[in-house]
């Protein structure tokens, strides 16, 4: 009896797996997304060759006079153009860096770090949700949103 059950189960399994398993899967070449991370931060540590974001956050107050948008890229071997666009809470462009050339000499760089800084002017109304988008070679690669809150008076 048990032999019959085993035969039936083996038949089921062989008919199922025989039609779908390939022992040599087609190799797919790994993709080329070079963006390792985009962060908003208050400060930047510049020790050595690479930059490091300090105080990563998405909530700021109108007392913060500047906000940094930091980007980390990997495996850069050609000249690239980076561009930051900052949008105020009314969804209008507040700042555009234009294209910034990186790796002009077209060397291989394992890691590339860069950032742009938004200066908040105290006289303008800054409170609300801001947006910063980053483009590489005219291609959208990432967006971050952040809040600027009014300073609490204690």
């Amino acid at each position: 009896m048990k032999r019959n059950i085993i035969i039936v189960i083996l038949l089921m399994l062989s008919s199922f797996f025989g039609s779908c398993i390939t022992l040599r899967p087609k190799h797919i070449f790994p993709p080329d997304n070079q963006v390792e991370g985009i962060h908003l931060c208050k400060g930047m540590e510049d020790s050595g060759d690479l930059l490091k974001p300090v105080d990563i956050q998405s909530d700021f107050t109108s007392k913060d006079d500047h906000i940094n948008c930091f980007i980390k890229l990997k495996d850069v071997s050609i000249k690239i153009r980076l561009r930051w666009k900052w949008y105020s809470p009314d969804k209008k462009m507040f700042r555009d860096t234009g294209d910034i050339i990186v790796n002009q000499n077209e060397e291989y760089l394992g890691v590339v770090t860069a950032y742009d800084m938004l200066q908040l002017t105290p006289e303008s109304k800054n409170e609300g949700q801001w947006t910063v988008v980053v483009f590489m070679n005219d291609k959208f690669i990432g967006r971050k949103t952040f809040q600027v809150r009014p300073l609490k008076l204690s």
Binding site: C20, T22, P31
Partner: protein
Amino acid sequence: MSKQKKIPLILIFFFVLSPFLLASEKILINLEGNYLAYSYDYRQIYGENVKFEFSLYEVSCQYIKIDVASRTFYAYGNIVLKKENEIISGDEFLFDPKKNIGKLISYKEGVEIKKIGDEGSEIALSKNNILDELSLSKIKKSFIYFTGKLFQINKNFEIYGFNVGLYLEGIESIGFKKFKLSGGFHQRRNGISLNRIWYTRSQGIIGRLSYLYEKEKKINTITQLNYEEHSVLKDYSGLKRQIDVMSSTTINFNENLNLGLTGNYNSGGLWNTRLWLNKKWSNKVNTQVDVLYNKPINLQGEAWVGFQSNINANKFGNISFVGKYGIQNQVLSNISYRNTFLKKINFLLSSSYSKVKIGRNGDYSKIFSGGINLSYSSRIFNLSTDYYLNYDLFGDQLLSQPQLRLGLNPFNFFGGLLSASIYNIFIYNNLNKGEIHEDNYSNNTVFNLSTKPIFVQKSFSLNFNIALEQFVEKEGRNFTSGGFIVNANKGLIKGVSVGGLYNIQSRRKTKSWLIEGTTSQNLSAVLKVNPSKRLNGWVSFSFDPKNSTWRQSFVDVSIELFRNWKFHSLLNYDFILKKINNVDLYIIREAGQFQLRFVWRSLSKQFMVELVPR
């Protein structure tokens, strides 16, 4: 043909039939890309240079991220939507293929948002934190992930991959021409489905079949059939086979009127059925009537007719009534009234009566019970009084029990350094049974005083706790108990700290001239080591100062190894028996929706491999 020969034929029959029973789901979205990766651990998809169809548009994008669990779809970079002569482009595209709504965002002089798909729908789509964390490197760290160029998601959110490669702990292994990558959300479809055919050495052949019919907001019915064939097992002492049928149907005539029928049958000889009608008269009044028939094994069946109603009269309180009448003159009833006065005074009055047949001699148990509860709570104290009455008419026994609870809420003084609380419970019992009259009372008072951590130095703190309890009762089994706990913590270096705890507990029993009691003491120390995220551990020792003996020691170490692999060990040493009581060793792989654990337990001398769903 013998019965045993029939069984494999039945299995083949079900196997051939199963594809028809398990009807295929419609495709929700087809993803074609240069590179697609699916993490089984996290149920997430990442893709590059991807094309798919959405709302009659052919969409192409540079990157795509999908979190299947939260049903979030996000495409970005060079988004192009094509339909006949229409071409639209943008930078980001958030969409929901099931609801056919999408939001195309472009960053130009301003942020431009265009609605795609169902024009009438509100677009509540937004990019969430899960998508920020979703990256190819995260998927590649999964215990199981697949890569391919064509993925298919059906309306049940099951994912199929075509010509996919399987990666196990980052190592490329076998490939599949077509493979179901995930289990979906198990949403049920109308019709019959074969849920399971299985064989185990303890239960024999098991078959599970279910039937579902659902018409939105009108009718909902589900029937399940479980079949167990035990005759194929050697030495099985129970029934040769067993059938269980469970069925439940609900018909909604309108929003306020529902009819339901449930039924259960077991071939062992028991069944029951219930028909109910629920009517909602308004938001404040609800009524239900039901008829129930229950047939237990080897006993006579019994039928009950029930009525229950709930009236919520806002400031006038809430009244509920439950009444049931069973054949052979059985009755169950309950009525209660609840209200809150002046926002802080809660009042509850309840009463119930039951008359239930006991045994086969025609005797009935008749019990009447009632209770009143009145409570008041304020910022400083809380007061509650209860009166409970239980009258057993059959046994001619009456129990009445008034209670009074008074507590002072924890209050701080010395600038919040000290916190104290006190509460008292008084209970009086009165029992009348025929000629016998008994009464007794008890009173319990508890006082607690504790301190917040007092920092003697920057890295050295102390805190204390004192508790006192006095119990008094009529029989004179009175006792007084007290406890004192001191806790000290000292940080040695970064990530290393030592803590000590000393407690003494004493309990004195007083009866007339006799005073007896016990005192226990315990001293324990713990060394905590947590120098980095990767290493976490502690060692503890306990010592009995009264008898000057070491008692036990525990060691707990957790080390992160690589790629979400973790080593964890727990050791227990007994100083009195002078031996290691137990060692547990774990190697754990955290893998999103499941955890893989290799476990060694010295106590049971067992090695186990566990796959634990999260």
